[in-house]
Symmetry: C2
Amino acid sequence: MSTRPAHAQPTRELLLDSLETLLLSGGSSAATLEAVASTAGVSKGGLLYHFGSKEALYQGFLDRMVVRSRAEAAQILDAPQGVVAAYLDASSVADDPSTRTVLAALRLAGVPEVDVEAALAESFSFWYETIARRIDDPVLARMVQLVGDGFYLHALIGSGSDHDTAVVERVVSLVADWQRDAS
Amino acid sequence: MSTRPAHAQPTRELLLDSLETLLLSGGSSAATLEAVASTAGVSKGGLLYHFGSKEALYQGFLDRMVVRSRAEAAQILDAPQGVVAAYLDASSVADDPSTRTVLAALRLAGVPEVDVEAALAESFSFWYETIARRIDDPVLARMVQLVGDGFYLHALIGSGSDHDTAVVERVVSLVADWQRDAS
DNA sequence: GTCTATAATCGGATAGAC
DNA sequence: GTCTATCCGATTATAGAC
């Protein structure tokens, strides 16, 4: 019988949230065990009870990202604006929760402890499959994905453009034109 | 009067090349002063003569990237295939020299010592200006850039697609159609 | 489940010889 | 310009109390 209120997050999740925040603000070098623990309000020893090593902590973060990406992709499939607009909107807004997680993972790219690239590739593949389910032409679907991924990269370096919302509209109408011509 | 043969690289450049290689293979945590120095064939002390600190080393790398990007953008402006094909080809091939440098810099994103994001934003702006000089519609120009940046991101995580060459062709013809309609 | 204390290692940087 | 030797701080991880 737990005494934790239903609304409070378990420490394990709090620790992963702290890792995400630290990765976004200071990169992988800022994500020390001590910093992650104290941001979550526990001691280093407390963290190491939940994740036995830095590698386990990182892997836990990546696993959660993949699970969430799969769920996010499923949601987007039935978005009222359509998959294209939904995907591009999410990827161009840096404080979208799922975008935050991806950006944090990107800042982890290259660390020796875990295979960040594989986890990100898996997440991206969910989104491609989702897009491709609504756009029959695989080349066009890939192009849409690449535009969204371009947004991710620009969010990573914090450089948006005034034309970005117009780009989203243009791509949406491009896809709509194609759907019309194909029928 | 130097005794160095004309073809040998100065140690300073060798050190920056070593940093690039290490960033690509192991991320920022692998790019220790010791590792960079020994890859370049010198000692840690030897490195610190040329770059007085880790911060100076990183900044030297970013400065070189910005200089090279400006030169690369100028070259692409007069490429025989046209700017669009040239930009997309370069960004989709992970072992292109200038792409390697950008990917290495992306793996440095978030480190506290230097402003990687600003340097990358400057490089990307050169390319946008170059693309925009050949495509009058700024929204279309930005879309082309975003597709290329999507390639960069996928190169970062090592996940290409079979459709990528077809995407390049499609975007090129998309731009050609627009140029025709506008005239 | 969480804490403190401590061991062991590593990375950045200085000093000074050659 | 390059080297070795050394210092110092930071970081991961363990041990064991509560």
